[in-house]
Amino acid sequence: MIRVVDLHKKFGRLHVLRGITTEVRQGEVVVIIGPSGSGKSTFLRCLNLLEKPTAGEVYIEGVRVTDPHVNLRAVREEVGMVFQRFNLFPHMTALENIALAPHKVRGLSREEAEARAYELLERVGLRDKAKSYPDELSGGQQQRVAIARALAMQPKVMLFDEPTSALDPEMIKEVLDVMKALAAEGMTMVVVTHEMGFAREVGDRVIFMDEGVIVEEGPPQELFARPQSERTRTFLSKIL
C-alpha cells in the first residue's frame, strides 16, 4: 500500500528525516510515537507531499509519488489527512466543509456531495450539526468533522497527526472512538499519537522515531513490553 525507501528531508541545513524505510500494508493501522522534533509530522507530510522529500522514494499503491512529474492532486485525493489543529474552513458550515472537495475535486453534483456529507456526519455522530460553523463546535466535534471531511474523498489511506493532542481530556474519547470504528472497517491508517491505549487496542504496529530515524518498530504489545533499544525504553518510561 505505502512503501517508503530511504526517505530524507532537509530544511536548509537541518536534516530532519535521515533515511526512513518502512512499509504500510493494506488495512494496517500504524502508530508513530517519538519525542517532539523527531520528525513525525514531517514524515507524514512527506507522504501526501505537503513537504517535498529531499531524497528517497515513496510509493503509494505502486505509484512513485516522489517522481518529479507526479500529479500532486491525484496523490492527495487518495491520501486523507487529519491535523492536530483541525484546520476546518471557518467560513463554511460543517456540511460545506465536507462537501467542498467531493464537489470541486471529484466532480460530484452539489446534491450528491451534500448527501455524502450528511452520511459522513451521521457516521461521526454529528448529523444535527450540519449547519453549524466550526467556531460553534467543540474541539472534539470539530475534529470529527475534519475526519469526515477527509473521508469524503474516499481516500485509500488516512494520515492522522496528533489528532487528539489539542483536545480537552473529556473530548479525546469521542475522536478516538471514531478512529477505532474506522480502523475496524479496514481503513489503512498512519497515526502519530501519544494515546497508548489507542495504540494497544487498534495498532497493528508501532514505530518509534527519534532524531529522524526509525529506532524500533513492532506490534504494540511487544514494543511496549520489551523495548529493544535504550532510547525507546527511556521514551516509554516518560509517557507510560
Binding site: N48, L50, R73, A74, R76, E77, V79, G80, M81, F83, R85, N87, L88, F89, P90, H91, L100, A101, K104, V105, K131, S132, Y133, D135, E136, A146, R149, A150, M153
Partner: protein, 262 residues
Amino acid sequence: MVLHWELIWRSLPLLLAGALMTVQLATIAVGLGIVIGTVAGMARLSQVKPVAILSRCYIDFIRGTPLLVQIFMVYMGLPQLTGVVIPPYYAAIIALSINSGAYVAEIVRAGIQSIDRGQTEAALSLGLSPSQVMRYVILPQAFRRIIPPLGNEFIAMLKDSSLVSAIALEELVRKGQIIITRTFRPFDIWLVVALLYLVMTILISRLVDWSERKLKVKPVEEREEEAARATAWEGGGFGPWLQMASLLRVRRPARERGEETT
C-alpha cells in the same frame, strides 16, 4: 461673519451634482481597483518571480508618486504618446482606478497572508488545486478581513478624487471653484463643500460597519431566527427598508454590541 444662506441654498443643486460625480468616480475607481488589486495582490505573492517583481514595481510606483502627477500622466501624457485624446472623465477613471488598485493590492496581500497556513494545507491535502484553494478557501476568508481597510480606501479615494478638479472634471471641488469665481464667497462655499464630504464619509463608514457585522458568522439560532423572520415578511417587502434604516442607526459602543473589546 454671517453665512450667506440664500447663496448656499442656490448653490446646493450644483454642489450636490458635483458630490454625485465624486461618489460615482470613487465607486467606479475602487470597484475597478478591487479587481486590479486582487490580481496584483495575488501576483505579488506569486511563486513566479517575474510576476511578483512586476506587481511590486506597479505597487511601488503608484504609492511612491503623487496622485496628481498620475492624473496628469494619464490625461496629458498618454495622448502625447498615443495621439488619442482622452476626455477628462475617462482620464480620471483610469488614473484613479490604477491608483486605487495599488493600495488595494497591498490590502489584499496582507489579507491573504493573515490566513493561517493550516487552511492552505488542509485544502491541498483534500486534492484542491492551488487556484481552487485561493478561490474557495483563502480569498473568501481574506475578503471578510479586508472589508474595513477597503472601506478606508474608499473614504480616502472619495477625498483624493478631488484632485481630478485639476483636469477640469466637474466633481464636488470643481463645482465649488466654479461657484466661487462667480460669487466671491469662498468661505461659505468651501464650508458647504467640506460638510458634503463629511456627510459622505460618515455614511460610508456606517455602511462598512454594517457590512462587517453582516458578514460576521452568526450563531445558528440567530440565523434560524432571521430565516424565520425573512419568510414571515415575504410579500411585505419591508426587509430592505429596515436594513437601510439600520444603516443610519447611531453606532453603539462595542461593549453594548457584545463584541470583544480586548
